[in-house]
């Protein structure tokens, strides 16, 4: 992944989101050691303190846990917590944006719901 460096999103948030994706993808299982701040700094060419901030966010949310002197590890509930978090925060925000844009364009709620359904039909489920 390349970081979006135009300043639209803090780097440490991009780091924590990238780590979340790595966990969701199954690249890191529970109780597996995750990248250190120095590895992340090298991968993304950023200051190690910024990388540490990204790791600490996930530790505060109990997605990672610290082992003194050994580094950060993935908790057993990590995957589930990331999914719930994304549903409650990321998805909610996106929906708000959509509703706002629909209002600007005077698209009714009913029409919008139809559009969402139509978009869903293109997916792989049905």
């Amino acid at each position: 992944m390349n970081l979006n460096l135009d300043g639209t999103k803090p780097i440490y948030l991009q780091i924590s989101e990238w780590l979340e994706r790595e966990i969701l993808n199954g690249n890191f299982e529970s109780d597996q050691k995750i990248y250190s701040q120095y590895q992340l700094a090298e991968i993304f060419n950023i200051n190690p303190a910024t990388a540490a901030k990204g790791l600490n966010i996930l530790a505060d949310e109990n997605i990672l846990y610290k082992k003194r002197g050994l580094g950060m590890f993935v908790t057993s509930a990590a995957k589930e917590m990331i999914l719930t978090k994304r549903k409650n925060e990321t998805l909610k925000k996106l929906v708000q944006e959509i509703v706002l844009e629909a209002e600007r364009l005077s698209v009714s709620k009913g029409e919008l719901i139809e559009m969402i359904k139509a978009a869903d039909l293109g997916g792989e489920e049905k």
Partner: protein, 300 residues
């Protein structure tokens, strides 16, 4: 622990104050960006830290000692700038050999690898190098010396984009394997900001802002929308930059003191909110007027 503390630091050249009552402190083992416009006092400050210049008044301590004419301080500092005085009688390779005697932590392997990577010719002389090659050679000295305090004053002057990129990465990698205090002044903040832990912004010889680089991005917020609505929202805010767009739209940068709910309400009111990059913010903050260059043309 702080490597540098200064209190009320002032430096006068004749009547002109290059540094005016400057106070700040820099923590150990951080990469700090020293940012400011031309003539804001960056180089003067670095020269005082390195002990090349004496302050007019105020206090400065580097490794808890006064830096001017101080052997302990100069043994632990390397100051890289574009007027390095390197021996004209020695060729490039010989300079590297001699430099090893001056710096306790000198890493010859790193120096030689960088020397080869940037395709220097060992038998060439420093004074015959191009501007960009001089800068590149200087930065090899700066990195390989591994001094507890490394000062880079505009290290990338004249370097092409590729070399600048390589230099930044080399600095980061060597910093990771050998943490030390680094101060780098640069006009290319957008290129270095991700490598910095802190940013020290000076304006007209005074400290203007000293923050973790990540906090810079959240320190202000850009608002764009109908001028009337924008004015309503920014009436009691600290305005940093303002620009009109089209017939009735404005872009205004203000201190970001909005709550989550306010941001939401602003969005609904039709204001587009966007983060302001650290380099843009520094330009706005160090500009003498809110409108910047546009004010020159908007007269009458």
């Amino acid at each position: 622990m702080s490597v540098i503390t200064c209190n009320g630091l002032t430096k006068k050249y004749g009547r002109n104050k290059a540094l005016n009552n400057l106070s700040f402190s820099i923590e150990e083992n951080k990469i700090t960006g020293l940012i400011g416009r031309n003539g804001s006092g960056k180089t003067t400050l670095l020269k005082i830290i390195a002990g090349h210049l004496k302050e007019t008044s105020g206090e400065i301590k580097v490794f808890s000692e006064k830096p001017y004419n101080n052997l302990m301080v100069s043994a632990n500092i390397i100051f890289i700038h574009d007027q390095m005085n390197l021996p004209a009688a020695l060729n490039l390779k010989e300079i590297l050999v001699v430099a090893a005697n001056f710096y306790e932590n000198w890493n010859s392997e790193l120096a030689n690898r960088l020397f080869d990577y940037f395709s220097f010719n060992p038998s060439h002389y420093y004074q015959d190098l191009s501007k960009g090659m001089k800068s590149t050679f200087n930065s090899i000295l700066g990195l390989s010396a591994r001094c507890p305090l490394t000062l880079f004053d505009e290290p990338t002057t004249g370097m092409d984009a590729g070399v600048r990129h390589d230099f930044y990465r080399a600095m980061l990698k060597d910093y990771i394997s050998y943490p030390r205090s680094i101060i780098i002044s640069s006009h290319h903040l957008n290129e270095v900001e991700d490598l910095l832990e802190d940013i020290l912004l000076i304006k007209e010889g005074k400290e203007h802002l000293h923050l973790p680089s990540e906090d810079f991005k959240e320190w202000s917020i850009g608002m764009q929308g109908k001028t009337a609505i924008i004015n309503e929202w920014t009436v009691d805010k600290e305005i940093i930059h303002t620009r009109s767009i089209g017939l009735d739209q404005s872009y205004v940068v203000v201190r970001n003191q909005f709550s989550e709910q306010e941001v939401q309400r602003a969005r609904i009111a039709g204001i587009e909110l966007s983060p302001v990059s650290a380099s843009d913010l520094c330009v706005y903050l160090t500009s003498k007027t809110e409108g910047g260059i546009d004010d020159v043309f908007n007269h009458g």
